[in-house]
Assembly symmetry: C2
Homo-oligomer: 151 residues x 2
């Protein structure tokens, strides 16, 4: 198994390759993308998080320090991915940041109701988007104390 | 009622005056402390959040964009404050950041189990602490999209 799959720090769930590449580049600039895994739809995200299907070897592996989750996703949408993560005691402590172009009140309210840790609207402007991703990477990877296994 | 009580953006729950003043000064430098309310124990925090006692006039008022919560507090400890906020559907969507000198695994694990949005260990060194508070203020007040009332 690739190293990134063993010791993942960031799970990026994003179907839009332009947005994903921008995120990865912004995190690389701050040296925060060494242990990043990018998945392109909600079904693959759930397989990764719950160590199923192609990711069944991840059973018992370290959990990401943060999941960056788009909402509009093929196969299983982001809201359902969030719901499943936060409904399961094994995974609900993993920090999830919704990173979406949606600013709809319904999406914001529902994300918080489901237990999202933070909700970030993607800035439309390229440089601003890169800056936002870099700052949220610094916050969740360097400042925030990640969850530890309950004793 | 004072303006800050009506339109609070930051609720700082901190019994240590040195730490509280450092937080307020760091947020002021970034112009983020205009709508900050500082309460000094867990009982006052709960009164504020649930609009009880001295804060009963706050019924129906805006909720903070973020609650900065120390864990070691007089009267009601921070973990119990967190538990009550996250157990009540009226308040569970409010972002809560634990800001504590504790790095004990048990505190980290329990905070995430209760649904904390983020856990920050107070840096021991003064300048580093001020920088951390400033950055978390920028993140939660300017970058994060705060919760809205469910439709």
């Amino acid at each position: 198994m690739a190293e990134a799959l063993k010791e993942v720090e960031v799970l990026l769930v994003e179907d839009n390759p332009t947005d994903a590449e921008l995120c990865i580049r912004a995190l690389k600039k701050s040296n925060l993308a060494n242990k990043l895994v990018w998945v392109k739809d909600g079904a693959e995200a759930l397989d990764f998080i719950f160590a199923k299907g192609a990711y069944s070897e991840r059973t018992g592996m370290t959990v990401p320090k943060v999941i960056l989750l788009d909402l509009r996703l093929p196969k299983v949408d982001g809201m359902e991915v969030l719901r499943q993560i936060k409904a399961d005691p094994r995974t609900r402590t993993i920090p999830v940041v919704v990173l979406t172009s949606s600013k709809e009140d319904r999406d914001v309210a529902q994300s918080y109701q489901l237990g999202v840790n933070s909700f970030i609207s993607k800035p439309v402007e390229f440089d601003e988007f890169a800056k936002t991703v870099s700052e949220l990477g610094l916050y969740w990877l360097l400042m925030n104390h990640p969850p530890v296994a309950a004793k």
